[in-house]
């Protein structure tokens, strides 16, 4: 872990060519061959309100390539906030977030191509769409190239054993089946860094095996996985690093 105290870059809206940058920024190819880490969080600070304590207080975390990391901690300690900051969903008040050396404010499109986030809970699905349409939509907004589109969707269906459910609408599926679909959508664009927030919610043992296989694929291509859960629910999964989040900082377990 390397402490960092750089401010997160924020795009200036008044700059020349701003609109083009906002609506159609072109990704610059950045492959994970450099000496940078898959994910680096440095000196993250986040306070939700002035009268509340810091939820992240100088948090540092570096994921090495080909590794899985588990972060635990009691409810409300800040695990989800950390993941949301890492995913680029919300900003920290200060600190550094980088995926393969790229900050979200620096090249948003490329950043989002490299990172995938599974939020906790059961949200993020279109209730009236079938599984296949949901995955196709997911592949399209992930801007998967046309040549790989069909193969990508079919791979997700096969990897997460969704063949029998492919034509079923989401609002007619069980919670566990929905969770399997949410996980399939997370892994679908072949991300380099996968952030999982309580992925085992409603999932059966079969689903657990499917996640393990998907995680192994990410690790095989040199990526990294960050898994957050309160504790003890992931006994079948082995991790390369274990941390507990306490008072805004990570403590080795």
């Amino acid at each position: 872990m390397t402490p960092r105290s750089l401010d997160i870059a924020e795009p200036e809206l008044g700059a020349t060519g701003t609109l083009e940058r906002l609506v159609g920024a072109r990704p610059t190819e950045s492959s994970p061959e450099s000496d940078s880490a898959p994910l680096r969080l440095g000196g993250l600070r986040k306070r939700w309100r002035k009268d509340l304590p810091l939820v992240l207080d100088g948090l540092d975390l570096t994921l090495e390539r080909g590794t899985t990391t588990w972060v635990g901690g009691r409810n409300g300690v800040g695990k989800t906030t950390m993941l949301r900051v890492a995913a680029g969903l919300i900003d920290a008040d200060s600190g550094c977030v980088e995926v393969w050396g790229i900050a979200p404010g620096e090249n948003r499109v490329r950043y989002q191509q490299l990172v995938s986030f599974l939020p906790a809970g059961d949200r993020g699905l279109y209730a009236r769409l079938t599984v296949r349409r949901q995955l196709e939509f997911c592949a399209r907004i992930a801007m998967v190239p046309r040549a790989r589109f069909g193969e990508t969707v079919e791979h997700a269906i096969a990897t997460f054993d969704l063949s029998e459910l492919a034509e079923r609408r989401v609002d007619r599926m069980s919670m566990g089946q929905r969770q399997r679909l949410r996980i399939a959508m997370t892994f679908l664009p072949s991300p380099e860094v996968v952030l999982l927030d309580e992925p085992l919610t409603s999932l059966d043992s079969e689903g657990m095996v499917l996640i393990q296989a998907a995680v192994a694929e990410v690790l095989a291509r040199g990526g990294a996985v960050l898994w957050c859960s309160p504790s003890g629910e992931h006994l079948e999964m082995s991790f390369d690093a274990h941390w507990m989040l306490e008072r805004g900082k990570l403590v080795a377990v």
């Binding site: 609109l19 949301r84 900003d91 279109y126 769409l129 349409r133 190239p145």
Partner: protein
């Protein structure tokens, strides 16, 4: 080039998604067509009942109001965008767009396409019902010109939806003020009566938004009503509104999203 192509596919995917969701509610189309039919029936008999000053015949007023009714579907569609954004926020699917390479800004623009294009279809259905059932006489020689003008109208109305969508991202309410804005635009836009009947200060307001220019121009092209100004002037107004307001509304949306990300309120709904 491949990124542009992928973005184009993503735009189409959002439209396809909205079409599938729309079609999954089987009675919605029937309900919307019936609503148009009831409105036409109501105004058909109102046009027979009363004499409206400034119109030569009952049919002339009916033709005037049918174009207004057709256009209000476009207005409603543009103001449905904030509610669509709110639904995405509630369902957690807005986060998915925001965290995708396609992005939330392009996502919001894309999610406005289906309702806007569908309103175009609904306007066509309304005009067709007016012709077939109520004997509305269209000015066929200029009807083909009305099609590209309608697309321009859609573009000039779109910024209002995006502006209110930006507000929704910040305040988390989809219908803040939209009902009264639609009502106000119906009045100053001359939906049911000519704006010349309005007090002079309201006539000034009629010139400050694209709705009046759109209704005047489309009435001229579809039913041959006279224009208060040249068609070129009305066209320039629509182009001007679209050219100024569209980039402005997109920038505001971008600012609203960034504000939500900075404050962390983007995750709230």
């Amino acid at each position: 080039m491949s990124d542009t192509l992928a973005a184009g596919h993503a735009f189409l995917a959002v439209m396809r998604r909205d079409l599938h969701v729309y079609l999954s509610y089987r009675t919605r189309l029937v309900s919307q067509v019936l609503t148009a039919l009831f409105s036409l029936t109501l105004f058909y008999y109102v046009s027979r009942l009363v004499h409206v000053s400034g119109f030569d015949s009952h049919s002339a007023y009916f033709g005037f109001v049918v174009v207004g009714i057709s256009l209000i579907s476009v207005l409603y569609s543009s103001f449905s965008i904030p509610e669509l954004v709110r639904q995405e926020l509630i369902a957690g699917t807005f986060d998915r767009l925001l965290l995708s390479p396609f992005g939330a800004i392009r996502g919001v623009i894309a999610m406005s396409l289906f309702p806007m294009l569908f309103s175009f279809v609904l306007a066509t259905v309304t005009l067709t019902l007016g012709c077939v059932i109520f004997g509305l006489r269209l000015h066929w020689s200029t009807v083909p010109v009305a099609v590209p003008v309608m697309f321009l109208v859609v573009l000039s109305f779109l910024p209002f939806g995006i502006l209110f969508a930006s507000l929704t991202v910040v305040v988390k309410q989809g219908s803040v003020g939209t009902a009264w804005v639609i009502a106000l635009l119906s009045i100053v836009g001359g939906l049911y009566f000519p704006v010349s009947l309005l007090p002079s200060w309201l006539q000034t307001a009629a010139k400050l938004q694209p709705f009046t220019a759109a209704t005047d121009l489309l009435r001229h092209l579809l039913v041959g009503s006279s224009l208060g100004e040249s068609p070129q002037t009305s066209l320039l107004k629509l182009v001007g509104f679209a050219a100024v307001l569209l980039p402005g509304s997109i920038l505001l949306l971008a600012r609203a999203i960034r504000l939500g990300q900075r404050r962390g309120t983007i995750i709230e709904y």
